[in-house]
């Protein structure tokens, strides 16, 4: 491990496992009420494990992810709805924790990309379809005519 930075660059996919490879939610974390547990899982899948590489706390084995999972379950037990739980976690860790970015001014470009790309493309196609028929082809150049003649002779 003489060049950890190099390795990290290399093994990006492997770095998904920054927390170590194992299953995430542990049996002892599971809530008694299946409906509440399902909600906890749903919320967890949208929260980022802050020390991992693009991994939700639901998938991660890092201790921090476990803490967050327990916080989520604690808030659910306390009677918060999904939005309140999310707000609580964002209040503590910032927007970075949300895997689904909020829709706001600073993410406007991000969320509008698909629509903008479609509209821009559609506009381009509309322009293209309105173009008048192209000028007739200029035909072959002298060199090309010679080449054709040469090919014909070879036949």
């Amino acid at each position: 491990m003489t060049t950890p930075s190099r390795l990290r660059a290399l093994l990006l996919a492997a770095a998904l496992l920054a927390g170590g490879p194992a299953s995430a939610v542990q049996p002892d974390e599971v809530m008694k009420d299946p409906a509440q547990e399902a909600r906890a899982r749903e919320i967890s899948a949208g929260l980022r494990c802050l020390v991992c590489q693009n991994q939700s706390i639901d998938d991660s084995d890092a201790p921090l992810a476990k803490d967050l999972r327990l916080i989520v379950r604690e808030r659910i037990r306390a009677g918060d709805d999904n939005q309140q739980v999310e707000d609580y976690v964002v209040g503590r860790y910032g927007e970075f924790v949300l895997l689904r970015p909020v829709f706001a001014w600073h993410t406007l470009l991000l969320w509008l990309t698909p629509v903008a790309a479609l509209l821009l493309g559609a506009f381009g196609i509309w322009r293209l379809s309105r173009r008048r028929a192209p000028a007739p082809s200029a035909g072959l150049s002298a060199a090309e005519k010679a080449e054709v003649a040469a090919l014909m002779r070879r036949e």
């Binding site: 491990m1 990290r8 660059a9 990006l12 002892d28 599971v30 949208g46 927007e95 470009l109 990309t113």
Partner: protein, 667 residues
């Protein structure tokens, strides 16, 4: 000694690629055929040199030569031989060497393919290819030399990351690189067309086989990577929208668009400028992908900052090729004559729509991948763009695209008849509706969107099959109902028609596999031997937990018997935790039991001192269809590649092979 010769061969390749970059273009400009023809030996020479260098590095890895830094860092004497070989490209330096090996291989193939490409176009193409080779060999020699020695040589190496000690990952990079790098050829062709200032159907025909090869391999490479992540990372997901995955998906989407636009260009002489632009963009995205993975920029800005030499060099390469080619495009594209026009309801109209949706999807993935980085640089705000974003934006773009696929196949060139197409597709539409509704009824109370996905998948598969059948049946006077004749005609259809049907059918199979995951189930429990855990239609009993030894690891394995709900044994599955002493790393080996196309997936969690284990058990219905569908898609690409149209450049063969008497006119 061999290592030094390998290093020298790399330097020689640098010189040869410079010759390849300069001489042919000069010859083409000055009309000097001798100078132009330098391209062929230079390209072959560069390939031979890089091949030798690669062989030298492989030899050093195979013999565990610990006087070579690269081997020390990535190998170990106890590592199984196959991973000693795959370890050659399981690290930065070696993988870059593989990258240029494939690059020069493609260059050599273009150089050898004498007949299909007009000489000036070939010379310019090889020159551009030579320039790419030169820059990347320079990158390796100056920043990532795989041949540097260490003195004194250590007795033992550091071993390869255990996660990479896997057959899936041994073949994943070569497949992916053939895809990435294959698009360098279409890029080189596009740049050559711009340099020459002319482009025509001959160009499209010359480019198409290379695009098909690159696309097919990229499809396989991505599928392989996805399957590896699925079974190796231990939580059963198959696509994570990770920056590295996106890096390979973007050139794939752009390449898919390119594959379709070259068809329009070849058949209808239209979309020329657009096709050139797509060729440039596709390879630019491949380069961007290489940059993202190699520089570590997206892992962490800090990683990038602590060792910026490589990142900056690759960034310079990006600016040179993307900026350079786009400038060339802006300057020269007006010279290219625009081709034919067409009605919106036609095959080419559908293909334009295909390009529209693909490019919008590609832009979405690109912006989603880079947005957090750019936002942080501009405003300092840190946000995450994760799977929920991509699922919400990508799927609504993909679904309409998939809906038009069978229509596009059915419509005629120039001027199609939407109503007639809908009539011909009636069977597919009706069947899809029945399948979707039946699935919904059978799984009532379950997920709602999944049956829609099943219907969509069925529609694509049946639509592809119908296309072959209706073409074989013939139109108008030649229409027949005789099964024997239909069969013979189907055999006689152009290979490209079969390739198209297979590729589109493969997409349908992938959609079926993805949709079926709506019914995936998961069980989680702490088990002692003899106890059971149920998930989906199966019940697993923990038989025993026992230690095992591998060649370079110690394993704690849990062995489970899987039974169906009636108590009949279906099979056994074992999952373990492997400890690799050389790296002090523990890796979970998930256990897979395949039943048809479905899998039972077991993943070992914590092992407690009293012998109890944490176990996750998933039931993944029809999950294998996701990757099998990708294989079918790649197969479609391969079948298309054998179409005789691809070989028309080789005139003798094409001329002697007469059309079968009952052949349906080629599309």
């Amino acid at each position: 000694m061999l290592v030094e010769v390998g290093h020298f061969a790399l330097a020689l390749a640098l010189a040869l690629s410079l010759v390849q970059a300069v001489m042919p273009i000069w010859g083409a400009r000055s009309g000097d055929p001798t100078l132009r023809q330098v391209a062929t030996p230079a390209a072959l020479g560069a390939f031979a040199c890089v091949l030798f260098a690669f062989a030298a590095l492989t030899y050093a890895h195979a013999t565990s030569d610990f006087s070579v830094q690269n081997v020390v860092e990535n190998s170990h004497t106890t590592k199984p031989f196959i991973y000693k070989l795959s370890g050659v490209w399981g690290n930065h330096e070696g993988s870059m060497l593989l990258w240029i090996l494939i690059l020069t291989l493609f260059g050599a193939l273009v150089a050898v393919a004498h007949h299909t490409v007009p000489p000036v176009l070939r010379a310019n193409t090889l020159a551009v290819q030579g320039l790419i080779t030169f820059v990347f060999v320079l990158f390796i020699i100056t920043t990532s030399n795989p041949f540097s020695r260490v003195a004194p040589a250590p007795l033992e190496g550091n071993d390869l990351n255990p996660l990479l000690q896997d057959v899936g990952l041994a073949v994943h990079p070569p497949l992916l690189y053939v895809g990435y790098v294959g698009f360098s050829i279409t890029f080189a062709f596009a740049a050559a067309a711009l340099i020459e200032g002319r482009i025509d159907a001959v160009w499209a025909r010359a480019v198409r086989p290379w695009t098909l090869v690159a696309w097919s391999f990229l499809t396989l490479g991505i599928a392989m990577g996805s399957y590896w992540a699925y079974y190796e990372l231990g939580w059963g997901g198959w696509w994570f929208w990770d920056p590295v995955e996106n890096a390979s998906l973007m050139p794939w989407i752009a390449g898919t668009a390119l594959l379709h636009s070259t068809v329009v260009m070849e058949k209808r002489d239209a979309l020329k400028v657009w096709t050139v632009l797509l060729s440039i963009l596709t390879f630019s995205l491949s380069l961007l992908g290489t940059f993202i993975v190699r520089s570590g920029l997206l892992t962490s800005v800090h990683t990038f900052a602590t060792d910026p030499t490589r990142g900056v060099f690759i960034l310079a390469i990006l600016v040179l090729f993307i900026g350079g080619s786009l400038t060339l495009f802006a300057w020269r594209a007006p010279l290219l004559r625009q081709g034919g026009l067409f009605a919106p309801i036609s095959r080419e109209g559908a293909l334009v729509l295909n390009n529209l949706f693909l490019v919008a999807a590609c832009a979405t993935v690109l912006v989603g991948t880079l947005y957090p980085l750019v936002l942080e640089m501009v405003t300092g705000e840190k946000i995450s763009v994760g799977p929920p974003f991509f699922n919400t934006t990508f799927v609504p773009l993909a679904v309409p695209l998939l809906l038009i696929v069978p229509f596009g196949q059915t419509l005629a060139w120039k001027r199609g008849d939407a109503l007639a197409a809908a009539q011909r597709l009636f069977a597919a539409l009706a069947l899809a509706l029945v399948v979707g509704l039946a699935t919904l009824a059978l799984t009532w109370g379950g997920p709602v969107l999944a049956p829609v996905g099943i219907g969509l998948g069925a529609y694509l598969v049946v639509g592809s099959a119908l296309e072959i059948i209706s073409r074989a049946r013939g139109y108008g006077a030649s229409r027949t109902a005789s099964p024997g004749l239909i069969w013979r005609r189907a055999i006689g259809l152009p290979r490209s028609a079969w390739g198209t049907a297979l590729a589109h059918g493969g997409v349908g199979v992938v959609v079926l596999g993805i949709a079926a995951q709506g019914w995936a189930t998961e069980g989680l429990a702490t088990l002692k031997p003899g106890e059971t855990l149920a998930t989906g239609p199966y019940v697993a009993t923990l038989e025993r937990v026992s230690p095992r030894s591998g060649p370079n690891y110690e394993e704690t394995a849990a062995i489970l018997t899987v039974r169906d709900r009636h108590g009949n044994a279906v099979g056994t599955v074992d999952t373990g935790k492997r400890f690799y002493p050389s790296r002090r790393m523990t890796v979970t080996e998930s256990g897979l039991l395949t039943v048809g196309a479905s899998q039972v997936y077991a993943s070992l969690g914590e092992v407690q001192p009293d012998g109890a284990i944490g176990l996750r058990l998933y039931y993944k219905p029809l999950v294998l269809l996701i990757w099998l569908g990708a294989v079918v898609m790649a197969l479609g690409g391969a079948v298309s590649l054998t179409d005789r149209r691809m070989r028309v450049g080789a005139p003798t063969r094409a001329r002697t092979k007469a059309l079968p008497p009952n052949a349906v006119p080629a599309e």
